[in-house]
């Protein structure tokens, strides 16, 4: 759609801008302010430059938590994106009450408060009172997420898969629904295999929703806080302490304002940087897609 050039449109954006600026810019400035000063009380503060940044970048506990965070986020993507696509392919295509029911059941984990998600798995995975923990133990596997760090880590991962795969599945489902039937008919005439249909028709058409899915899942898993906090409290040891939890400990627990602020900014920059990397690599073949869209437009028109 061609857009009109009109600067009066700013009046429509203004209320939103003022509101978001109040909640975003003032706090962000506060963080920047803290990150370069050593604050003793209301009136005494010293400018310390980049000292806090150096301290944070040297902190080995934060290195560990950053590495854990990256491993976790990538495991989440590697499991949830293919699984989500698979679930979307399994879903019924005709819109009727059964499809609505499946959609609602799928969306269910997304509607549960995050601390309750933690609670659900805290109960469900316990060896003594939870079905899952009990079943795994009954299979002869020694499993206890409160004392074994690997078990704890896997439980957090399983919880995240349970919690967020439906989002990927619903995104992909809506992408699949938008593929015109003519594509499938053409594939049938060409006797395309099931795999060929997926690889050359469905996957390319899913690209735009997959970009959204990868970005959302990366950002949100990188900021995960509440669920592991409730489930394991970051333990045993530090096995499931991710970045948000380290930050909260630092800011609210120990009240180390300067380092916490410096850490916050680094954290935010990492999220922005990786999101930008994902976005540019995933949309890299723009020219191909543009050509593809042009072809498809002609087909639609004829």
């Amino acid at each position: 759609m061609t857009k009109l050039r009109n600067n009066k449109a700013w009046w429509l954006v203004l209320p939103m801008f003022v509101l978001v600026a109040f909640s975003a810019i003032i706090p962000l400035m506060t963080v920047v302010n803290y990150s370069v000063q050593d604050i003793f009380d209301q009136n005494t503060a010293y400018f310390v430059g980049v000292e806090w940044y150096q301290e944070v970048l040297r902190d080995t506990r934060l290195h560990d938590s950053l590495i854990r965070q990256f491993i976790f986020s990538f495991s989440v993507l590697v499991i949830e994106i293919p699984l989500g696509i698979l679930i979307a392919l399994l879903m019924p295509k005709t819109p009727n009450w059964k499809t609505s029911l499946v959609l609602i059941l799928l969306a269910l984990p997304l509607l549960i408060p995050w601390n309750v998600v933690g609670t659900i798995w805290q109960v469900f995975a316990r060896g003594d009172i939870g079905l899952f923990g009990w079943a795994v133990n009954a299979l002869g596997i020694d499993y206890n997420y409160t004392s074994n760090s690997l078990d704890a880590w896997l439980t957090v991962l399983l919880m995240d898969v349970w919690h967020w795969t439906p989002l990927v599945a619903l995104l992909c489902y809506s992408g699949l629904r938008a593929i015109p039937n003519a594509y499938y008919q053409a594939a049938q005439i060409d006797r395309a295999s099931r795999w060929a249909v997926f690889r050359y028709i469905q996957l390319p058409r899913l690209k735009s929703v997959l970009v959204i899915a990868v970005l959302l899942r990366f950002m949100d898993s990188f900021m995960i806080y509440t669920e592991p906090f409730v489930l394991t409290g970051g333990g045993p040891g530090n096995a499931t302490t991710f970045l948000s939890q380290s930050l909260t400990q630092m800011a609210v627990g120990q009240f180390d304002l300067g380092p916490a602020a410096a850490f916050s900014l680094i954290y935010f920059l990492i999220v922005l940087l990786v999101s930008w990397l994902f976005f540019t690599t995933l949309t890299y073949e723009r020219e191909d897609t543009a050509q593809y869209k042009a072809v498809q437009h002609n087909e639609g028109g004829s």
């Binding site: 857009k3 429509l12 939103m16 997304l110 408060p113 601390n115 349970w162």
Partner: protein
């Protein structure tokens, strides 16, 4: 014959996955009807000693049920504020080019990428200094930072699907902008509005970190009150489960209303 096999396998896969989703929820539901003695004594798939005691505790103790009321208040407030400011903004983004529009849009989305933990302390200080601490408005405003970017993004997608000729025709027919927007335009994108409201509601309802930090007594959300079940005698599992089950219900009600638009809405109106 082959296609029938395929659909059977598909159905089986789907049933398996949905049981994976429902099993933990089922376990929570069953636990909420059990007494603590039964929960701790043995593993039972069905409550042997069916009881409503846990629910009665919640509905008769004002510190418990006020948690739900507080949560509902700030969630509704958040949804209302988000829609009010996001609708005109999304219209501007979908129809006009203006100075700094691309930068503004990117800046808006970058807020969605900010970890809530980063804003924890500054929010606390900002809202304390303007006297908003421990009010529903404080939580609603804090949540707006994350729900407005998403709302503008979704609404812009839906609005771009409405041909511009409709606006032009309406203006030629003598509609003022306000009347056109409310009488003609908004009804055309009502599924988009429904989906946006659903997303704002959902984000605000499930978030805990900010809601807990910005409140102490008067506006304390249910998710913070749930930590009360950890007492000196250990965790009151039955009560915790009942409180958890009650937090799932509003979400189910809301998704029921937007069920027909969910598929489109999850793709942010872009397919």
């Amino acid at each position: 014959m082959q296609t029938k096999d395929m659909s059977m396998r598909k159905l089986l896969g789907l049933i398996l996955y949905i049981s994976f989703i429902l099993l933990p929820i089922y376990w929570l539901l069953m636990m909420s009807f059990k007494t603590n003695e039964e929960i701790l004594a043995q593993l039972t798939l069905w409550p042997q000693d069916f009881t409503f005691k846990n629910y009665i505790t919640i509905f008769t103790d004002s510190t418990w049920y006020m948690g739900y009321v507080n949560s509902m208040i700030y969630v509704v407030l958040n949804t209302a504020i988000t829609l009010t400011v996001a609708l005109p903004a999304a219209y501007a983004f979908s129809r006009f080019k203006f100075v700094g529009d691309k930068h503004l849009f990117f800046w808006l989305l970058s807020n969605r990428m900010a970890p809530p933990a980063v804003f924890l302390l500054p929010f606390f200080q900002l809202y304390s200094s303007v006297g908003l601490f421990d009010t529903h408005l404080a939580v609603a405003l804090a949540h707006c930072l994350f729900s407005i970017p998403l709302a503008v993004w979704i609404l812009e997608g839906f609005m771009s699907g409405v041909p511009k000729e409709i606006d032009e025709t309406a203006f030629i027919d003598g509609y003022s902008f306000g009347r056109f927007f409310i009488k003609i335009f908004l009804p055309m994108i009502r599924s988009g509005i429904g989906v946006t409201a659903f997303f704002s509601f959902m984000f605000s309802w499930v978030e805990l970190l900010l809601a807990r930090t910005l409140t102490s007594v008067d506006a304390k959300p249910i998710s913070a009150i749930m930590t009360r079940t950890v007492g000196a005698a250990g965790i009151d599992w039955g009560l915790l489960a009942a409180a958890g089950v009650l937090t799932i219900i509003p979400g189910i009600l809301v998704i029921w209303f937007v069920r027909n638009h969910v598929a489109k809405g999850f793709a942010l109106g872009r397919v």
